[in-house]
């Protein structure tokens, strides 16, 4: 009775390990290509540090520009992983298994980049550490009343939490890599990462506890991070920013853009690593449903946001509202609405739209749309201050564009390297899934395999019920 599933699981096991073992030249090429962008990133940043923050296009009154937009954007992307993977883990959704690792990696790298942007943005980056609370000779600690210090607290927590949340489930897989590697540098590398993991019952038990607690703990952290990012805006007096809805609005937007980038990453991984037996259509279908839900929720928030402004008739708020909907920012605004709401709903409402390619394409659109959303939050409000005499405008400089594109390169480079070095699909969690499937006895098919089989749904259902 257990023969067949076991044999099947062994086969899948072997296949998965084989996939991970195989060297992918595409990944190497990707790493190198994105490495060039990494150089662009650091050249532009170095140029800015050498010449002054004035090499950007920001001005008065638009004191914040691309850097803050990208900061919010990347922090939003970071919600791809940890939050989504945590939610799925907490709800014990079986189909999370092939997804979590890649999602968590996205989080960590996006967060690292997002966390850099406020530093890039500083006028005097050399003394950024003034914001960090530590005993110092200046006799003054940071001002905890500033949302920026909340940001530091939240992002530090989130980045540490995300790194650990990525790392903890990675330990058994590092041990797998270690034990499969021939002696040498590679083995030593994995040995360091594995920390002496052997897979004993106590280790598994503690690990499961740890993951369970982290998954629960990381959700409120993730929510707080983007809420606090939104408070960088909502705490001000600035018309167009001062809004109570911003916290949840930003969180939803973050998850939305996070899923978008996750869809893209998974589609690429599935294709690039031929992981279609593991990242099944079922996974895409489920994520696609979540995606369209977030799109609708985002649309709801956007509507609510602008409805209240429009209805209130507040002079200053209406000025911002006007340039957004009808004025100079109308084109990006309506583009945003189309790619964030109209297209996702139109495509993802149909099962056929929830296949890898369409979801990835929709995800690309949403990324653009969510970037635009951040742009439309930052720039129109600042360029339309209360005193009309100071009305201004903003065009980014090549330095800002270089850093923005470079940051994408940094992300890609990190991600490619990570994929090359470590299992991008969590091996032990897959194994656990297959074991559950086998143990559940409802089906001979392990989770994730044989997408065409109607029985494939059972692990998901079973997981949900458990």
């Amino acid at each position: 009775m257990t023969d067949r599933p076991q044999a099947s699981a062994r086969a899948l096991d072997g296949e998965l390990l084989g996939r991970l073992d195989r060297r992918r030249s595409g990944l190497l090429v990707g790493s190198l290509a994105s490495g060039v962008l990494v150089l662009v990133f650091f050249y532009c940043w170095g140029y800015q540090i050498a010449n002054g923050i004035g090499v950007t296009g920001i001005n008065r009154p638009v004191f914040w520009g691309f850097y803050i937009i990208n900061f919010v954007f990347w922090i939003g992307i970071s919600h791809a992983g940890t939050l989504i993977s945590a939610i799925l883990r907490v709800t014990k959704a079986e189909w999370r298994r092939p997804v979590t690792r890649s999602a968590e990696a996205i989080t960590l790298f996006a967060l690292a980049i997002g966390g850099l942007f406020p530093l890039i943005h500083l006028g005097r980056v050399a003394i950024f550490y003034y914001m960090i609370p530590y005993p110092n000779s200046r006799m003054l600690w940071p001002n905890f009343r500033s949302p920026l210090v909340w940001d530091i607290a939240a992002i530090t927590t989130y980045i540490i939490g995300s790194a650990l949340y990525l790392f903890l489930p990675l330990i058994p897989d590092a041990a797998v890599m270690r034990d499969r590697a021939a002696a040498g540098l590679k083995k030593r590398f994995y040995a360091v990462l594995a920390l002496g993991w052997r897979g004993t019952a106590q280790q598994w038990h503690s690990l499961e506890w740890g993951i369970r607690i982290l998954a629960v703990a990381i959700i409120p952290v993730a929510v707080s991070v983007h809420t606090i990012v939104s408070w960088d805006f909502a705490m001000t007096q600035t018309p167009g920013w001062k809004s109570t809805i911003f916290g949840p609005y930003f969180v939803v937007g973050a998850i939305f853009s996070g899923i978008a980038v996750l869809m893209i990453a998974m589609a690429l991984l599935r294709r690039g690593l031929a992981l279609d037996r593991f990242l099944t259509d079922r996974v895409f279908n489920n994520l696609g449903l979540l995606f369209v839900t977030m799109s609708l929720v985002w649309g709801y928030f956007t509507f609510a946001e602008h409805l209240t402004v429009w209805y209130s008739g507040d002079l200053f708020e209406k000025n911002v509202h006007h340039v957004l909907l009808h004025g100079d920012f109308a084109v990006p605004f309506w583009t945003m609405v189309v790619v964030n709401l109209v297209i996702p709903v139109a495509v993802l409402s149909f099962p056929r739209g929830r296949r890898p390619l369409p979801t990835a394409l929709v995800g690309c659109g949403v990324l653009v749309g969510m970037w635009l959303e951040r742009f439309l939050i930052v720039v129109p409000a600042l360029s339309t201050p209360r005193l009309a005499y100071s009305i201004g405008d903003y065009l980014p400089s090549w330095v800002e564009l270089g850093i923005m594109i470079g940051a994408i390169g940094v992300f890609a480079c990190l991600y490619f390297t990570f994929t090359q070095l470590l299992p991008i699909v969590s091996v032990w969690e897959m194994r656990e899934g297959w074991r559950h499937a086998a143990g559940g006895g409802e089906s001979g098919q392990p989770s994730g395999a044989a997408p065409a089989s109607p029985a494939a749904a059972s692990p998901v259902a079973g997981g949900g019920a458990a």
Binding site: T2, P133, M139, L140, F144, A153, T156, Q202, L214
Partner: protein, 178 residues
């Protein structure tokens, strides 16, 4: 039997949990104590899959302690800093509630997360310099079997006779026995 004689170690890699279970059952029947048995698996096993005592964990306790610790630290940092440097800004009170609350919240989460991970590593013997008693957790020649999805049974502190018998028992179902 002398103590010196009871340091034999039997390791056997199995394909399935059932095989491990029979081997463990056989070992226990042959008078091996449960504490001498160590099973390494490629994925977590269900608690009742093996007739061995359930491992215990205090991760949750430590997590809560970490949360309290982190929260208090953050509160002290935020409120204490404000009191140490009472600079008025924006007409707010010196120790303003909401900001202190926000920082405390993050500190709580951070303390919880760090303590959780530390405790997990501690309990698993994964921290540098912390080994687990009785040769557990040491590297084995057969670890690659675990890596490749098999299970590894290790029985420590056996006499030569016990070891021999156990090896015999295992050979029937095991993939490899040392």
């Amino acid at each position: 039997m002398t103590r010196a004689a009871q340091d034999h170690l039997v390791e056997a890699a199995f394909e399935s949990v059932e095989d491990v279970r029979s081997a463990v059952e056989a070992a226990l029947e042959s008078g091996v104590a449960a504490s001498q048995v160590e099973v390494r698996s490629p994925a977590p096993l269900e608690e009742d899959e093996l007739p061995l005592p359930k491992p215990k964990s205090r991760v949750l306790l430590f997590a809560l302690a970490g949360a309290v610790l982190g929260g208090l630290t953050a509160f002290g940092l935020a409120a204490g800093t404000a009191l140490a440097y009472p600079l008025p800004t924006g007409g707010m009170s010196i120790v303003a509630g909401p900001p202190v609350g926000v920082v405390t919240y993050e500190g709580t989460a951070l303390g919880l997360i760090i303590m959780t991970v530390l405790r997990v590593l501690w309990e698993g013997g994964l921290l540098p310099g912390r080994a687990i008693r009785g040769g557990r957790g040491r590297a084995s020649e057969l670890d690659h079997h675990v890596a490749n999805g098999r299970l590894l049974l290790r029985v420590h502190g056996l006499s030569e006779e016990q070891a021999g018998r156990l090896r015999g028992l295992s050979r029937a179902s095991a993939v490899e026995v040392v």
